[in-house]
């Protein structure tokens, strides 16, 4: 067994032990803190609301979680153990929701739908990060690209009176910011972390300037992208309301996800991109243009980040506020690391963060006796845990962050 697989395995083991402990804790908490007569109403949208005994459900979830944790410990196959742990995580979440919904009702399908919605900018940002980093350019400027795109996209919406032009401008502005990052880090060989930081600060300045100079003078529009129900598909139970009753940028994200996966792993362009990110010298030797590949990847990544920016101002809120991206660009990087620089994995990470976000909003509505500030910390704490807990498992592209000298 090599050193890395050993480390990977021990990390999985440690995680399995954590889940076993959590499962046992759930059983204890259910016994001690939840009234046996208490009922949680779990909503499944139009299939009605299912009242379940809170205490029993949490106990069962806890027991199953501990069991799947044990199974992960016993399994010798790392992949199977990982799947088992994913199952434990789902059980913990279900138990958590049930415990929180005691004496109240919580719509599980609605939670899923809002998790998907909240995860959209994160997933898009992570895809932008993957494009850049797979070609060997670190991009911590995604947050700034999103922010500038959100501001200028909204500005264009006001100016042209057409929200679709707004989205287009957002995409272009994201690409433009990325082009700046590309020129700085590829042509001028600036330290990519510093260049990304400069992009972030520039975005705060430029978007704030735009808002105070022009946007506040215009009347409040509040227009957002339309909700599109896909005929027939939207009637499918559960899946229909989670996936097929959404807004355009959510659909675009769901479309880009498999597309990026295919492009990265099944096309010549993807192969070149990965080669440039892993070993640019070798790629250059066989005739791949390292600089061109990096430029194009970084700029397309920026366009995707721009779309994520449009999600804030044009799809969700319908206006622009200062620093409205609220760190989602950085959380996207954590999702990218979570997914080990793979689009599908990054999407799952984004879903986790989206869920944390949706949950804290839901809890504020449910009036859970926890200060809203602490609930609001949840996505950030989850990010830290993920980055700290999984980074040893992640293997970034080898040539990442190193400017290429011909």
């Amino acid at each position: 067994m090599t050193e890395t697989t050993k480390a990977r395995f021990s990390r999985l083991r440690a995680l399995a032990v954590v889940f076993i402990v959590i499962g046992l804790l759930m059983i204890v908490i259910a016994r001690l803190r939840i009234d046996a007569a208490q009922v949680s109403i779990l909503g499944f949208e139009k299939f009605g609301r299912q009242p379940v005994p809170s205490q029993l459900t949490v106990t069962v979830c806890g027991a199953l979680c501990a069991l799947t944790g044990l199974a992960a410990l016993a399994l010798s196959n790392a992949r199977a153990a990982g799947a088992s742990l994913a199952f434990s995580l789902l059980l913990v979440l279900l138990g958590l929701l049930t415990a929180l919904a005691q004496g109240a009702s919580i719509d599980l399908v609605g939670m899923l739908a809002s998790s998907l919605r909240m995860s959209t900018p994160i997933a898009l940002g992570a895809m932008a990060g993957i494009m850049c980093e797979r070609s060997g350019v670190v991009n911590i400027g995604i947050e700034g690209m999103m922010l500038a795109a959100a501001a200028f996209g909204f500005g264009a919406n006001l100016f042209f009176g057409n929200i679709w032009i707004g989205v287009l401008v957002a995409i272009l502005v994201g690409g433009l910011m990325a082009a700046l990052h590309a020129v700085l880090s590829i042509r001028f060989k600036t330290d990519q972390i510093i260049s990304g930081t400069a992009i972030n600060i520039l975005a705060v300045g430029a978007s704030g300037f735009l808002r105070r100079a022009y946007l506040v003078k215009a009347y409040f529009v509040g227009q957002t992208l339309p909700l599109i129900k896909i005929p027939l598909l939207s009637e499918i139970p559960v899946l229909g309301s989670v996936f097929f009753r959404s807004q355009p940028i959510v659909y675009t994200m769901l479309f880009l996800l498999p597309l990026l996966h295919v492009v990265l792993f099944y096309t010549p362009w993807g192969l070149r991109t990965r080669a440039v990110g892993e070993h640019p010298r070798a790629a250059d030797t066989v005739g791949v243009n390292v600089f061109k590949t990096r430029y194009i990847n970084v700029i397309i990544g920026g366009c995707i980040a721009g779309l994520a920016g449009a999600w804030f101002s044009l799809e969700t809120v319908g206006s622009f506020e200062d620093v409205m991206t609220g760190g989602k660009g950085f959380i996207a990087l954590a999702a990218m690391i979570f997914g080990n620089w793979n689009p599908i994995g990054a999407f799952l990470g984004a879903l986790l963060f989206g869920f944390a976000d949706a949950l804290q909003i839901k809890l504020q509505i449910l009036n859970v006796p926890l200060p809203y500030q602490f609930l609001g910390m949840a996505p950030y704490i989850v990010t830290m845990i993920v980055v700290a807990g999984l980074i040893g498992r992640a293997t970034p592209p080898a040539a990442e962050g190193v400017p290429y000298e011909k």
């Binding site: 930081t197 400069a198 704490i381």
Partner: protein, 372 residues
């Protein structure tokens, strides 16, 4: 003339040229950024001359404005030193903002809650707690990086958000002054206040602390073994490890020291200026301090002039807005451009045809991928 002394005479004028070229890049970067700022002002249909005169007068126009600039220079210097110290160890501490908050939070608690202490006990105690608060907040990402390889950039940013929310909660709940109209903590005891330097004006002794800190950081980095290790780890962690230095220990140590300086910056604001901690304690010093450290090339002696320049920009912005109707965000744009030009000094060198000295090498490298 021996070979040695000839070398000396050849090198003496070189030192002057060296200083001039070292200064040329930052000066030209600021100049170019201001020139582009002028284009933005012009595009926003405002008067460039009026705007920049407003900026200048707002920063230096009177004793009051000048002392106000110095008031802002104080936290900038300490926060800039915090970032620079991290840079020297190869760490990018974007968490100065959060450490600043935690420093302010811890010091304000000691400063208002401890009663009846003499000044010479209370004031140092409050300063120390503030520095400790920042150090603690800086230790977390340092530890996570050293032990688990988690990149400090993400963790420090996350901790910024967490710090803001923690301060918001504490100031609005257990630390709230019920008598106040806006949510804030009670006023601190007079025994914990930093004295004013020129009484009618707000300039306080925090500036002296900042100046002392410059020399302390210089001494630490260049005159002690500890500093030598920190700089070696920053220059080349592999070489440092090979030489028997503990890279992980130095990562944590540098983040603790950096956090302590940032915490001290927040402490100065509370003990010298606000005398309480409002819930709306937005500083923005964290991000600006990165620019300051970059401008100073992470050298302690460069921090003060860079911090002064930044403070002047920030302080003058108000009058610029008043005179020319230009949003103060313009200063942010100029600032970002300065960072771009200093980070990518090749642009400036190319624009003004300044040659790079041969022996000049990149001293610090941050981008090593995610936690390797």
């Amino acid at each position: 003339m021996t070979a040695e002394s000839r070398e000396m005479t050849v090198q003496a004028p070189a030192a002057w040229i060296r200083l001039v070229t070292d200064l040329a890049v930052p000066v030209l970067a600021v100049f170019t950024a201001l020139a582009i700022g002028a284009v933005v002002i012009w595009a926003a249909k405002a008067n460039v001359v009026v705007a920049y005169r407003g900026l200048l007068e707002g920063a230096f126009g009177s004793v009051r404005n000048l002392t106000e600039t110095l008031v802002i220079t104080t936290p900038y210097t300490l926060a800039g030193l915090a970032v620079a110290l991290g840079f020297r160890c190869g760490l990018f501490n974007i968490g100065v903002e959060g450490q600043f908050y935690m420093g302010a939070l811890c010091s304000v608690f000691v400063a208002y809650a401890a009663k009846g202490l003499p000044v010479y006990v209370h004031l140092p105690l409050a300063l120390l707690t503030g520095a400790l608060g920042g150090a603690m907040w800086g230790a977390i990402p340092g530890f996570l990086k050293a032990k688990l390889g988690a990149h400090e950039v993400i963790n420090t940013i996350m901790l910024n958000y967490i710090a803001v929310k923690t301060v918001d909660y504490l100031v609005k709940n257990p630390m709230l002054d019920a008598a106040a109209t806006m949510p804030r903590t009670p006023y601190i005891q007079p025994s914990a206040m930093l004295p004013k330097l020129l009484p009618p004006y707000r300039l306080h002794a925090g500036l002296l602390i900042a100046i002392v800190a410059i020399f302390v950081v210089y001494w630490l980095l260049w005159k002690t073994t500890l500093g030598f290790e920190i700089r070696t780890v920053g220059a080349n962690p592999d070489a440092a490890k090979y030489a028997g230095m503990s890279v992980t220990r130095n990562f944590v140590l540098a983040m603790v020291l950096s956090g302590a300086l940032a915490g001290l910056a927040g402490t100065g604001e509370v003990l010298g200026l606000n005398h309480n901690l409002p819930a709306m304690f937005i500083s923005g010093y964290g991000f600006d301090s990165i620019a300051i450290a970059l401008m100073a090339k992470s050298h302690p002696f460069g921090i003060l002039p860079a911090a002064f320049l930044w403070a002047a920009l920030r302080n003058g912005a108000g009058l610029m807005q008043l005179r020319a109707g230009i949003s103060i965000d313009l200063v942010n744009i100029v600032q970002a451009l300065v960072i771009v030009f200093i980070a990518a000094d090749e642009i400036i060198r190319w624009l003004y045809r300044i040659k790079r000295r041969k022996e000049e090498i990149r001293e610090i490298v941050f981008t090593r991928g995610w936690g390797r």
